[in-house]
């Protein structure tokens, strides 16, 4: 299967995306956020909570003076390390108990502070490189079956039930396990701590939970002889911190979109732009594949109408990702199969959209989301819609395939639902394995025409965004019918300008040339 696409249009789209992202990148470079600084603190080896269950990275960063904050948490922590001679975690615990006040080391010379921090930076970077290395080794030893990679979610709220579910899903064929986060976690301005057994429509993303799942999946990977991947969500008020935890605990993918939090969680756009950049730099270094969230446009607005917006957003997400140093192979752009099943020839539109994404982003591990919005309590019908989704995915060679659940409209998946869903995908993808290679699209037909018009419309959209500027375009509701003001939304108070002399040793170490 192949669409005829004008390469110049594609080039123009990419150029427009660069024009759109450039001013935002300049803004990012001049600012930081509370969560970026907390991530730096975590990267220095600090974890745990105080007596009030407040995470120590929050305690430390909240304890900085505005002046310290503007120069970055690393310098302040460095000063404290230099002065106290403590290890970072010990320091943090004292700060947590109120025995030490980080704000009190403001006079320590910057060189001393930097020097005190450096070994911890090196240690963490080495750890992350080691984790990455382990993943590569395991993938070589326990190879995955070829894509589409079958991806399922677990979401019981209880990490131990999730573990049971994840192992069972792996045994029935899952290749990627996502632990869905509890409702509302993305709006928390801290990361919960420890293993958790109560969540709401999902399970809290905590470092302990990451570790529990990783261990269980490593065990099952060895038993099955194929590496089972683990993923979670970065997007939200704590993107950089979650990216940190994911790097440490060997997650393999991470939901990380440059605009999702803005549009769908009403998080301040400046906050999100800054946070996504640093978190993606970490993702890049740790070899984690990001997954973007264009699928969400299709669940909230009409899927036929939003197709150009999805494409435009993919170009923008790609550009942001490149600037954070992510190679194409780590950019899992999102798309979804969300067209109304009642629409005549809707399947042809889905094929057009999926194939377009495949050809425009040939090296990206595309993430293809299942039908959700039009799923109903009719599980039998739902299973069929999922089947055509599976067929589209294998025919257009999508990479990361979120298996649709026949009970999508009813409950977070039951263990049996997941097995049926995996069976659905396996059946369709085997019986139609080479279908995509066997067929040609007729020129001038519905599919061809649709693909061309979506691309043309995406270019028009990108041009409009470039003219207005991304922030104003979002303000005008260009994506998913959602409007957000540049200074509104959650977490805006956590955005601040970098002072001269701002220092983030991890940014320094990870900075890709492209972002320079």
């Amino acid at each position: 299967m192949h669409l005829e696409i004008d390469p110049r249009t594609v080039e123009r789209c990419r150029a427009l995306a660069a024009d759109i992202v450039s001013p935002v990148s300049r803004f990012i470079a001049a600012h930081s956020t509370l969560s970026v600084e907390r991530a730096v603190v975590r990267l220095l080896g600090i974890d745990g909570v105080d007596a009030q269950e407040v995470p120590l990275p929050n305690v430390i960063v909240d304890g900085l003076t505005p002046g310290q904050r503007a120069r970055g948490a690393a310098l302040a922590v460095g000063a404290a390390l230099a002065e106290t001679g403590l290890e970072p975690q010990a320091l943090a615990e004292r700060v947590g108990r109120g025995d030490v006040n980080v704000a009190s080391f403001d006079n320590t010379p910057e060189v001393a502070a930097r020097a005190a921090v450096r070994p911890h930076v090196e240690r963490m970077l080495a750890h992350i490189r080691g984790v990455r290395e382990t993943r590569s080794e395991m993938l070589a030893r326990l190879p995955q079956t070829p894509p589409p990679l079958l991806y399922v979610i677990v979401a019981s709220g209880n990490i131990y039930e999730d573990r049971t579910a994840a192992v069972a899903a792996s045994e029935s064929g899952a290749q990627v396990i996502a632990v869905i986060r509890s409702t509302g976690q993305s709006l928390l301005d801290f990361v919960p701590f420890g293993p958790t057994t109560e969540g709401f429509g999902g399970t809290y993303a905590t470092q302990a939970n990451f570790k529990i799942m990783r261990e269980a999946l490593d065990e099952v990977s060895r038993r099955l002889g194929r590496y089972v991947m683990l993923t979670n969500y970065a997007s939200g008020l704590c993107m950089p911190e979650i990216a940190t935890m994911a790097a440490i605990e060997r997650l393999d993918m991470l939901l990380n979109d440059s605009m999702y939090g803005i549009l769908f969680r009403d998080i301040n756009m400046k906050r999100t732009f800054i946070d996504q950049h640093f978190s993606r730099m970490l993702n890049s270094y740790s070899g984690i594949i990001i997954n973007t969230g264009e699928d969400n446009y299709l669940t909230t607005a009409d899927a036929v109408e939003q197709a150009p917006a999805v494409l435009a957003s993919q170009f923008i997400n790609e550009e942001f990702a490149h600037r954070a140093g992510l190679p194409d192979e780590q950019i899992g752009l999102g798309d979804a199969f969300e067209i109304d099943p009642g629409l005549e020839d809707g399947f042809l539109y889905q094929l057009a959209q999926a194939q377009l994404a495949r050809q425009l982003f040939p090296h990206a591990p595309l993430k293809y989301m299942p039908p959700t919005k039009h799923m109903t309590g009719d599980i039998f019908k739902g299973h069929l819609i999922d089947a055509l989704f599976n067929l589209t995915s294998v025919a257009t060679k999508q990479t990361i395939h979120l298996c649709g659940m026949l009970t999508e409209a009813i409950h977070t998946p039951f263990l049996g639902d997941r097995a049926l869903s995996l069976e659905n995908a396996r059946y369709i993808m085997s019986t139609a394995r080479h279908f995509g290679d066997e067929i040609e699209i007729k020129r001038g037909g519905i599919i061809d025409t649709r693909a061309k018009s979506v691309l043309a419309e995406a270019e028009r959209l990108l041009r409009g965004v470039a003219e207005r500027g991304l922030m104003h375009a979002i303000e005008d509701g260009i994506f998913a019918d959602v409007k957000r003001p540049p200074d509104g939304g959650r977490g805006f108070e956590g955005v601040f300008e970098r002072a001269a002399g701002y220092w983030n040793p991890f940014e320094e170490a990870l900075s890709p040339e492209v972002a320079a």
């Binding site: 192992v167 029935s172 509302g184 709401f200 429509g201 919005k373 263990l415 049996g416 097995a419 049926l420």
Partner: protein, 255 residues
């Protein structure tokens, strides 16, 4: 006294009253012929007869999935079931506007929100936004409605405060997430808060969401509940008709 035969109903497979039902479930045991037998005994214990385990297979090392067909001896007397729908009036937008103009004589003030921690606004938006749902315009499009859409994750407190402040005639509360009974908890909290504030009788209290039924809503003390597939005009018709009735009873003039 037993009901006349014709109103006693049972599931229908291919013969009247055969009681045929399909079941599926997962058991936390490795598959074996004994697992099939466990499934059979379990369904028998549920009170079914003619239990046929038509599919049993391993779906994981320690889980098995089953598909079962069986017959139930249970029946319900359909004549005793009351579940009056809130959707009884099929009216067009123009008719509804006309009814409000003539019988209510002022604009109706409506406030909607997705309450609690629920952030699924698509449903309430479908009812309120201009665009509407499936070609049926939303309440914002009506001349005779003044509509406020408070969006997602609105606490019952906030919504009550807003309703009092803006002299709202009809509150529309949405709940899509139902896990662990969160929907019922939030709906109940809202109703109780309105009672506590002494404003419950001054307004129409309406809820909606994919798992909502009108019966459940009235049991929770709501004036109406709307479930999956609701069209905005059905809600508008309900509000207009009730408001018109109220005015007729109270003889209250508006302006």
């Amino acid at each position: 006294m037993s009901a006349p035969l014709s109103t006693l109903i049972k599931p229908y497979g291919d013969t009247i009253n055969d009681g045929a039902v399909q079941l599926s479930f997962t058991l936390p045991i490795a598959w074996s012929e004994a697992a099939d037998e466990a499934a059979r005994q379990l369904v028998t214990k549920m009170g079914f007869t003619d239990v046929s385990v038509v599919e049993g297979r391993p779906i994981a090392r320690t889980f098995s999935f089953f598909v079962v067909y069986a017959r139930t001896p249970q029946a319900v007397d359909f004549s005793t079931i009351t579940a009056p729908s809130a959707k009884s009036h099929a009216m067009e937008m123009d008719e509804i506007d006309a009814l409000v103009r003539e019988a209510v004589k002022r604009k109706i003030r409506v406030a909607g929100a997705c309450i609690g921690t629920d952030a699924h606004t698509v449903g309430i938006d479908a009812i309120l936004n201009m665009k509407g749902y499936k070609g049926d315009y939303g309440l914002e499009r009506y001349h005779e409605f003044v509509t406020y859409n408070l969006g997602s994750q609105v606490s019952p407190e906030e919504l009550v405060r807003f309703a009092v402040e803006k002299e709202i005639d009809a509150i529309l509360a949405s709940q899509v997430v139902t896990q662990k009974g969160s929907d019922v908890a939030n709906f109940t909290a809202l109703a109780e808060m309105l009672e506590a504030e002494g404003v419950r009788d001054r307004l129409l209290l309406i809820c909606g969401g994919p798992r909502v039924t009108n019966l459940m809503a009235t049991e929770l003390g709501y004036d109406a509940g709307f479930g999956r597939g609701t069209l905005p005009s059905e809600v508008a018709a309900f509000i207009a008709t009730r408001m018109a009735e109220r005015r007729a009873v109270n003889g209250r003039a508006a302006s």
